[in-house]
């Protein structure tokens, strides 16, 4: 088990190093003098010189990268030009908001995606299956920012049921927090539900053909028991690992969802940073997202390993 994790880590580390190179190179795509860009509105030659010294801009690019990585390993991702706060602190402030949104979206996605996937597989080839497939494909095709706008118009503007924007911490006012987050979570959860539905359906179809399911049916078990207890439990494996990998999609979706519903999370942080040309924050967000995704990949692999007895016995 430990050697398996060590092997996976050995693959994750070079990936992380390459991600850091990409993120560093991003900065070099900026046209013109980077010191001028980093200085923002400031044009004082002394300030520019200070920036050049601080970021080692006069040294060869390879040295610049090593200085950057060394600072990063100390937890120094730079300072936001806009708020003057350390980037890591900013990210740590915003991340819990996005995690709350992501967890709520995931719950909604599971509640819609898995039962529909099971139903669709159990009723393969019937109108129920066709309708479920059309709904899933529509869920994948709807741009979530448009769905957000439409829901705000319907639920908030016309019906007045839920607030259109804003955020409240669940630790301060849980009811208000739920009210502000449920609509964005639904918007974010629909695309995910569609992906989950399609994967659940395909995993279930594979399992429903298996001999042990036929045996369970032959024993005279009720169809519901066969589907839930015998088939679904075995189809769960790819679904669990897929869920860990959907984390990246959730973060990307959160960028637009947070923008529409003005939620002060991780996604809004990157968009605001893009517009204020706060490049250190953009780099920090990309780096943290990639690191998070690599970690989730690692967790998915370990989960797969733990849940799959064949993998364990293969060692």
């Amino acid at each position: 088990m430990l050697s398996y994790i060590a092997r996976r880590l050995a693959i994750a580390i070079p990936t992380l190093i390459l991600v850091s190179i990409f993120v560093f190179v991003l900065q070099k795509l900026l046209p013109g003098d980077p010191a001028l860009v980093l200085a923002g509105e400031e044009r004082d030659p002394q300030v520019l010189e200070f920036i050049r010294q601080k970021y080692h801009l006069t040294e060869p690019i390879l040295y610049q990268y090593f200085y950057w990585v060394e600072a990063m390993l100390r937890g120094d991702l730079g300072v936001s030009l806009r708020t003057n706060q350390p980037v890591l602190e900013l990210i740590a402030d915003k991340l819990p908001v996005t995690i709350q949104l992501a967890i709520m979206a995931m719950i909604i996605a599971f509640m819609i995606g898995i039962p529909t996937g099971i139903l669709s597989a159990a009723k393969k080839g019937t109108p129920v299956d066709y309708i479920a497939n059309i709904v899933a494909l529509s869920g994948l095709s709807i741009p979530n920012f448009w769905l957000g706008i439409m829901l705000i118009m319907l639920v908030s503007v016309n019906l007045g049921w839920l607030p259109a924007s804003g955020y409240e911490s669940p630790f301060i006012d849980p009811v208000r927090s739920f009210q502000t987050m449920i609509m964005p979570a639904f918007v974010l959860g629909t695309a995910l539900a569609a992906t989950l539905m399609r994967h659940t359906r395909s995993a279930m179809l594979g399992v429903l053909k298996a001999d042990y399911v036929r045996t369970a049916r032959a024993k005279g078990l009720r169809e519901l028991v066969v589907i839930i207890k015998h088939a679904f439990r075995n189809a769960l494996l790819p679904i669990v690992t897929l869920s860990a990998l959907l984390f990246g999609e959730l973060l990307a979706g959160a960028v637009l969802t947070e923008q529409i519903f003005t939620i002060p999370g991780f996604g809004k942080l990157i968009v605001d940073a893009v517009f204020t040309r706060d490049y250190a924050v953009v780099q920090g967000v990309v780096l943290c997202t990639a690191a998070g995704f690599i970690l989730m990949n690692l967790i998915a692999d370990i989960l797969y390993f733990l849940l799959n007895p064949r993998m364990r016995s293969a060692l």
Partner: protein
């Protein structure tokens, strides 16, 4: 069996499977619906300059935020521009962004995937790790970051989306090449002394075509949403040129006064993306030999 005979048999088999695939595709109703939707939008986008519609940039202070009517079928926007005309011209930007960015992704991704799968060793290690690193950053976040550093414009948005989508094609091509390169006809071609380039282009590449085509069709759908997302954030098409995403960006500020401004561009994105998804799914079913 000689390589030439092998090649002829492979050609015959390819023609047979092509006609089989075409028959399956024609019989697939949802793929047909997808094709009709996509064709409709392509025709509209291409014919935009010929259609008898208003100038998409012409403002009218007497027709600000007018609801759909006989004069303006889809209504007008916040400075009195005709939404139908902007929708039609916007189709050009959205479809072009989808197709061009996928073209960029295929053009870079497929050769790297070929090299990686065919040569193996350190070339494969290097390309695969770089692909993993790019795949570790979610598609849209990578595209936003690239667009931010390259500067906001439709061209840069297409480049950003293309580069973000490229790793999928590297991985897909590599996988296909790995399964093809041990086939007898490739071994035979190597035995008669053909160069690596000739083997790759004549024997390996044609086998990569079908899965790449399916993936490209599905990626066009993703790329159209990505372009709309970037334009919605102000990182794609710049005003006054229309694109569906930038129209939605403005529309969100007038949700109570002029909701129709948000209806149409979103519905168009949804329809065209649905069209590409249906077509891509249909192509996959038709080209996958494992399917019925």
């Amino acid at each position: 069996m000689s390589v030439t005979t092998d090649h002829a048999v492979a050609d015959e088999e390819a023609i047979r499977s092509e006609s089989r695939a075409w028959k399956k595709l024609k019989a697939n109703k949802s793929a047909l619906v997808g094709f009709v939707i996509v064709a409709f939008f392509i025709i509209i986008a291409v014919a935009a300059p010929l259609l008898p519609i208003a100038d998409p940039a012409a403002t009218s202070w007497s027709a600000i935020r007018k609801a759909p009517s006989a004069a303006h079928w889809l209504g007008t926007d916040e400075i009195g521009r005709d939404i139908l005309s902007r929708m039609i011209w916007g189709a050009q930007a959205s479809l072009m962004a989808g197709v061009v960015s996928v073209f960029i992704a295929v053009l870079i991704g497929v050769p790297f995937g070929l090299l990686s799968g065919y040569f193996g060793g350190w070339i494969d290690q290097g390309i695969s790790r770089a692909t993993d690193a790019l795949l570790a950053t979610p598609f849209l976040i990578l595209a936003i970051a690239l667009a931010a550093f390259l500067g906001p414009s439709l061209t840069n948005a297409m480049l950003a989306i293309g580069l973000s989508a490229m790793p999928i094609f590297v991985r897909l091509t590599r996988g296909q090449v790995l399964s093809v390169k041990t086939e007898d006809y490739v071994e035979g071609a190597r035995a008669i002394g053909l160069t690596d380039l000739a083997i790759m282009t004549r024997y390996v590449l044609p086998n990569v075509f079908a899965p790449v085509l399916v993936q490209a069709t599905l990626t066009v759908a993703t790329a159209i949403i990505a372009e709309a997302s970037l334009s919605f954030l102000g990182l794609g098409q710049q005003p006054p040129d229309p694109s569906w995403g930038s129209m939605l960006n403005v529309a969100k500020n007038f949700m109570t006064q002029a909701p129709w401004m948000a209806w149409w561009p979103g519905a168009a994105i949804f329809l065209v993306v649905l069209g590409f998804n249906l077509l891509g799914d249909g192509l996959r079913d038709a080209l996958d030999p494992r399917e019925g």
